[in-house]
């Protein structure tokens, strides 16, 4: 037996992943256990879970892989400070103690936390970890890969090829020129949190008009025909400062950044739309260049920019590649699995055996699960009333959704990656015109403009969306089919006025531009969720439900039954499915509510 533990830590989204004899047997983000969103600390509890899942102890591990090279990152930091001196003094004064006391000694830290482990530690480069996470678990024997994010050591974008068990990096773009950080700069400027609000910018984009595209291309970024690019650093402060954008950026776009939580204006929507358009064009250009250079028909994506499912969907629609596979944990959390894959295949030379069809990610259901007996014990101990519907649970849930109930679905292994895929989800009726508003404001307590995603039986996806193939990880956006669309009478509305219009037969999951972030649900990876959709289709003719993550704004997705119950009790959810058990809000005591619950989570 060979066991490899992959770890990502110390920046954001710490995670652990365990590969045993070439199989990814467990993976999870630390935030789910620690309940600290984007937790950056050493993933103590995620490691503990991975080892327990496989029945191992640290001394049983053969290798540990850390997802980047701290020494090279430190070099980049110092060189950047030197380049921008004396501008970066205040950032330098804050960063140095952290580096000299902690981050530089990552290897020591790993051995300290893994008492008993005496094997070697590998440090693949950050983008090698991303590339490994994209290619090695993919279904392809041969593919091109593209990794784009904020920054690793020096690299911000890389591409190359994967063949069998090898990876060849052919081209990289280096810091400070970064597509991820450009997007993050707009995230900051539009008043959202960097490293978490990028999704909101993408969701806001369809409300806006691309009026700033030319300005961005004229002043901020020079994109060449091959997709390589350079940023004009006069407009950014992120290499040395404590914020993303400079005064020149503010002057260019007519004022200071929007203050967080203040009302959104058309300007923010137009900015979001413009940077989204630029990002899409950039991804298309670079993907096209890779296609021409490598001749590969398959493309694998990872890195934070690969979570831009709108860009992914557009790329897929172009038909440039026959197949596109996106690592579901495309952000830094996925680096843990990538680093472990890197050691297994590239460092140790073990072969791959992809079948060209199924990936090795197991639906990304790689986190902890809780047996029914453990859940029952929790319910009995707390005196919580519950029901059992042996064998009829999917049809019961489908009937409840049809009756407009909002359901917390907690069942099976937790997802690895930022998306809830049916194990830690809140689900509801996608046909309901008011459901987007109800879910946003009464259940998730988040901004009203944010769209929800549809989960659909995989075999029915082409009946409802302009999409062929699979999107099991909710990382592809496509349009609702023309015949399912409804065009509002008043077509002169724009911006946020578009929000409450009914635009399709499934309005709750149809964004204002008729797009939807699709999750195809497969019998092979989540039979129970598929059965719910199947039963719902029998009742209504629609094989689709809303699927959003089981949490409130700012809260990490629930991990344990007690967290699911607490979230259920303190939101407008009607029903909670915990394993095989069903709880109804109407039967719950009011004492289960916690008036301070929402305040526990810092707004994201």
């Amino acid at each position: 037996m060979t066991a490899i533990l992959g770890i990502s830590a110390f920046y954001h989204d710490s995670a652990a992943a365990l590969i045993v004899d070439g199989n990814l047997v467990a993976a999870a983000q630390e935030e789910r256990f620690s309940r600290i969103r984007h937790d950056e600390g050493f993933p103590v509890q995620a490691v503990e879970f991975c080892l327990k899942r496989a029945g191992l102890k640290p001394e049983n591990l053969d290798y540990v892989a850390f997802y980047d090279k701290p020494v090279q990152k430190f070099d980049r930091l110092l060189e950047t400070y030197i380049s921008y001196a004396p501008s970066g003094l205040s950032s330098f004064l804050k960063a140095m103690p952290v580096w000299l006391k902690d981050k530089l000694w990552t290897q020591d830290s790993l051995y300290k936390h893994l008492t008993g482990f005496e094997g070697p530690v590998f440090f693949p480069e950050h983008h090698e970890s991303h590339a490994a996470s994209a290619f090695f678990p993919s279904p392809f024997r041969s593919a091109a890969f593209l990794t784009m994010d904020g920054v690793g050591e020096w690299t911000t974008t890389s591409w190359g090829t994967g063949r069998e068990n090898t990876l060849s990096m052919l081209k990289e773009i280096r810091f400070p020129h970064s597509a991820g950080l450009l997007y993050s700069a707009f995230t900051f400027y539009t008043g959202f949190k960097v490293n978490s609000g990028e999704y909101k910018v993408m969701g806001l984009a369809p409300y806006g008009r691309p009026v700033y595209v030319q300005k961005i291309l004229d002043h901020l970024i020079d994109i060449r025909e091959d997709g390589s690019f350079r940023l004009n650093m006069d407009y950014f402060e992120y290499p040395y400062g404590l914020k993303m954008t400079s005064k020149a950026f503010e002057d260019l776009f007519g004022g200071p950044a929007r203050k967080p939580e203040t009302p959104l204006t058309q300007r923010e929507m137009d900015l979001a739309c413009s940077i989204q358009k630029v990002t899409e064009d950039l991804v298309l250009k670079i993907a096209g260049h890779i296609r021409r250079e490598t001749g590969e028909e398959n493309l694998c994506l990872a890195g934070g920019v690969a979570l831009n499912c709108v860009a992914n969907g557009i790329l897929k629609k172009t038909g440039l590649y026959r197949n596109i596979w996106v690592q579901p944990a495309a952000g830094d959390a996925g680096g843990a699995a990538g680093a472990a894959w890197y050691v297994w295949h590239k460092a140790l030379g073990n072969s791959r055996n992809p079948d060209g069809n199924r990936d090795s990610q197991s639906g990304s259901y790689l986190g902890p699960e809780y047996p029914n007996e453990e859940i029952r014990h929790f319910l009995v101990e707390k005196g919580i009333k519950y029901h059992e519907y042996r064998g009829k649970l999917p049809s019961t849930i489908a009937a409840l959704i049809e009756k407009q109930k909002v359901i917390g679905l907690f069942r099976g292994r937790m997802e690895y990656g930022p998306r809830a895929l049916g194990s830690r989800s809140i689900i509801g009726d996608a046909r309901s015109p008011g459901m987007q508003s109800v879910m946003n404001l009464k259940i998730k307590f988040r901004e009203s403009f944010r769209p929800f995603a549809p989960a659909i039986k995989s075999e029915k996806v082409s009946d409802w969306f302009e999409f062929e193939g699979e999107s099991p990880y909710m990382l592809m956006v496509a349009g609702v089919r023309e015949e399912k669309r409804r065009y509002p009478e008043n077509r002169d509305l724009f911006g946020i006025e578009l929000l409450n219009q009914v635009r399709s037969e499934i309005p709750a999951v149809t964004h204002v531009d008729f797009s939807a972030r699709i999750q195809t649900v497969h019998r092979e990876t989540n039979l129970f969720f598929w059965q719910i959709l199947d039963e719902f289709e029998k009742l209504t003719g629609v094989p689709i439900v809303i699927n959003t993550s089981f949490n409130v704004r700012g809260e990490p997705i629930v991990c344990r039954p007690e967290e699911a119950f607490t979230c259920f009790m303190n939101t407008g959810m009607d029903v909670l499915v915990l394993g095989d058990f069903v709880l109804y809000k109407t039967e719950m005591p009011e004492s289960g509510q916690d008036s301070g619950y929402l305040k526990k989570f810092e707004l994201d």
Partner: protein, 52 residues
């Protein structure tokens, strides 16, 4: 021992990338950093974006 190996790795990295000329200024920066550590006594993560 591990700390020494990190320093050796850093030197190797600079040599391989032909960046040894940066050594004096890097040493000065690291020196300032060490003083900061000693003066402050703790290394709380600052509020800077997680680039570093």
């Amino acid at each position: 021992m591990a700390k020494t190996s990190v320093l050796i790795e850093f030197l190797h990295f600079l040599k391989e990338r032909k960046k040894l000329w940066l050594m004096p200024i890097i040493l000065i920066l690291v020196g300032i950093g060490l003083i900061l550590v000693l003066v402050k006594g703790s290394a709380l993560a600052p509020f800077i974006y997680s680039l570093f």
